[in-house]
Symmetry: C2
Amino acid sequence: MAPEKERCADMGKELEILREHLARHGMNLTRQRVAVVNAFLKTDGHVTAEEIYQQLRDEGSRVGLATVYRTLSLLTDCNLAIPRSFGDGTVRYEKAYGYESHDHMICDSCGSIVEFHSDCVDQLKCELLTQHNFVVDRHRLVLYGICGNCRE
Amino acid sequence: MAPEKERCADMGKELEILREHLARHGMNLTRQRVAVVNAFLKTDGHVTAEEIYQQLRDEGSRVGLATVYRTLSLLTDCNLAIPRSFGDGTVRYEKAYGYESHDHMICDSCGSIVEFHSDCVDQLKCELLTQHNFVVDRHRLVLYGICGNCRE
DNA sequence: TTTGGTGCAAACTCTTTGCAGCTCA
DNA sequence: TGAGCTGCAAAGAGTTTGCACCAAA
């Protein structure tokens, strides 16, 4: 019922997945790794390493930028995060646990990134298989334009 | 009739567009710019600046890497090239003159990039307008998987 | 106590920029 | 001639890596 409790439960689940992954590889769940994961989960899920680093700094948590990069790489390894580049020269990490596959629209005016779900790609996958003998594993669809807020 | 002639005619057209663009801005069509444009047009249209630089080197044409970057930027300005990042950390330039809007599929195994056309995105644009009040200007769709050649 | 982790700084990659000399109209 | 262009090298941005010290099991 309490949203705070629910969120904590979710966060625990992701930390648990990471802990298992680390254990399987003889690695430990350190204070810094917990801090990075919690900072990552608090965001809207389209963050850069630098942004997480700054957020941790602001909170007074001393974690090196290299550690942030290393931890995000670990999160990617155990499918808790997906690295994406939206063409601005940096990599943004997206939350992957408990999220459905989705696509993005980006506003050219305010830069906001909005997720949406569409299954128009599914039929396309069939076409590519029959026409090009190409088996699709995953895809990436981004639409650019002007969002409702900016048009007003 | 002769394909060589046709290609030269096309190349001339692109150089002409660049020359006009340069003239409008008080700039000149130099030996180096012609070399970069010709090298760019000879490729499959998904090249990095470095690749064009190397190709020119191999041909014995001495053009600096900075000039290649500067020229590709000019080509982008006059809509002869489109910069795209496929997530490998570099920018690839695509031919834009006389090419229809299209999407890409990339083979995870051999890395080949194949273009295809699909209008499945068109209906999606309508959905986004009615559901999110978002006006789409352009889009980017990339599908990853295994191509026919690699599956054999 | 031992293996692994961290922070720092240096290295690396891709791209842009400053500048002295060169070139084109 | 003079504005614009070039090549080089240096600077930047983002990311990775090497290493000496630190920390968790």
